[in-house]
Amino acid sequence: MIIDPRGGPRGRAYVRDVDRGWQEGEGTGGLLLRLRSVDDEQENDANCGVDPAVATRQGRLLVLDAAETLAKFMVDGWPDSERFHQVVGSVVAQCQLSGRTNQSKLAAFGEMVALLWAEGKPEAAIRLEKLWNELARVHSFHLHCAYPISYFRDERHAELIEKVCAEHSHVIPDESYTSLPGEDERLRTVALLQQKAQALANEVAERKKAQYELQLREAELTDFLENAMVGLHWVAENGTILWANKTELLMLGYEREEYVGHHIAEFHADQEVIGEILRRLACHEELRGSESTLRCKDGSLRHVQIHSNVFSQNGKFIHTRCFTIDVTERKKLEKTLMLSEKLASVGRLAASIAHEINNPLEAITNLPFLAKRDLADPAKAARHLRLATHELERVSHISRQTLGFCRDNSSPVDIDVCKMLDELLFMYGRKLDVRKIHVEKRYDETARVTGLESEIRQVFSNLIANAIDAMPSGGRLILKAAPSREWNNVGLPGARVTIGDTGAGIPSENRKNLFDAFYSTKKDVGTGLGLWLVHGMISKHKGMIHVRSKAVPGASGTAFSVFLPCNSNTHTITSSES
């Protein structure tokens, strides 16, 4: 048996062997039975030291097709002993009979084992070797086999090569080895090979250890990801969910197979939102805190915040890496907070209305008392009553205005901005007088916005109240209102309202938190929710708010600019209580 160390083209190794077997082993007078596989044909003919045609004519070479012969005795993928003896045994017997030189020996060179091996049937190949050996006990011939070393490429093959070797009387490991002339050189080669083998064995052991550790680490990381506090998933470029962790499945209530493999959009309540998310990811944009709503298996909805980016290799979209945070509870709290702040701000308003009403009432209480006392002096009494009537009108007016804050209007209406601002100025009239705040109005009377009246009123009311609070010892309150278009999105019509004051201004370090909940610089009276609420209500109306402020003494002031659309897409606006 010859083992070809290079594992190179099979043909070359076999052919050379045939040549050698013929010339050295059996001498030139011998006969060769060759079971040749088809793809060896070319090489064989070109490289054989003996002209096959001549040899065949002389009856010294018999070539059979290996695959064809093999097929004759294979039963269910296993070499059948009886058939083998019939098929191969008869050929061998025939060769021996026809041999012209009785003294010469028959050499058989088979490639059928190699074919079986190549088909991935090493056990069948070994079985075939055994059958050849059985045959050799009946007929006298030499059997040559060659196995490319590449057939025994890893450790699992150690046992097989042992079995194959056991079936042979001689094993020639390597032609480069056998070609070495002296014993000393062979021993040196063996020593080198032993060193190589040892080094390889060590290397393999190291790698196995590293691989085991890697597997442990991978299992640990997988477990870590599965149990993370946030939902995690990967989505392919076409939107299919490739993987999701346990947390995400638990959050939504799906089994793995009900989620993974499906399109991500199936689980989003708002198709527009997921469409936009996928569009942005397709452009390799990074998403930070995109809000969306997911539909659970039980039909309930979860508000989530999504952070996602694309994992790409060489610019190719591999999959997204998406972190999903459940913010449903927070949303609920925010809603409650918004409602409670609305109540609180209504409460503050009620207090200020009570004050506005109580003062005229005080006068109204006093004046009839005086009129009654001064009945004897009709002119005096009449003057008291005239003043009382005037105060009564004030009370009635305030009472009528107050209704505007309380009216439960849940559908949007067109609002005359200037009229609303004037009503508010009237409300705050006393405060403005007392503080010696001069009001400057720059109105374009055509300014209109569409929205929930009570909420728009509250927006302006809060901003005016803030402006007044910013000027404890007088100043100017500047109110501007004019039709406008949305600054960022040309085309959306509406109105811009600017509420400015000449107060102390907002220091720049306070400006970035201005619209945050619970952010207040008014220690005693502020809840820190006023501007947060304003911002929320403006966003709901798809409007915008900007602030400009200067805290330089002598030239200080603040201006809030609000844009609110008119005839906008108002059907989506509903009262926030609902």
Binding site: L361, V434, P472
Partner: protein, 156 residues
């Protein structure tokens, strides 16, 4: 002074103070030879301050209307009143701040606060924490209630 001109509008003549008998409320003390109680009414709403002063002057008090905390202090220093009746929430100086300062130089001066604002409770609590207690009436105060309070003994 800002208040002086407005006071003149209401105090048509000093005779007002003598028309005690015309009062619908009979007060036994007013018939006595007792000196008339000197009262300062403080409210930034002039109509309230003046109408109250007018009423009290008709009821046997010697009342003066002023319209700010600072004016109240100045007038109190000058006239040493028996009682100061003051609104609480006023710009620049609250009635409570003014009352505290008046107490410093007129410890015996009675202070009655009246207010129609929720904010007042907080301010009063703050003053109480500092050791000041004031009588308190809610706006609108009927003239009868105020007169009654002024004629009764201080609850402090």
């Amino acid at each position: 002074m800002r208040f002086a001109s407005i006071v003149n509008l209401y105090h048509d003549s000093s005779d007002d103070a003598k028309s005690v008998s015309a009062s619908p409320i009979e007060d036994p003390d007013s018939r006595s030879t007792r000196k008339r109680k000197r009262v300062i009414i403080v409210d930034d709403d002039a109509l309230i301050a003046e109408s109250l002063a007018d009423i009290l002057n008709g009821e046997g008090f010697e009342a003066t209307a002023v319209f700010s905390g600072q004016d109240a202090i100045d007038w109190a220093r000058k006239t040493k009143p028996d009682v100061v009746v003051s609104d609480v929430v006023m710009p620049e100086m609250t009635g409570i701040e003014a009352a505290k300062l008046i107490r410093e130089f007129l410890p015996a001066c009675r202070v009655i606060l009246f207010s129609g604002q929720a904010l007042t409770n907080d301010l009063l609590a703050e003053a109480r924490a500092q050791g000041y207690t004031f009588e308190m009436l809610g706006k609108p105060v009927s003239p009868y209630t105020l007169i009654e309070a002024l004629r009764s003994k201080s609850k402090q």
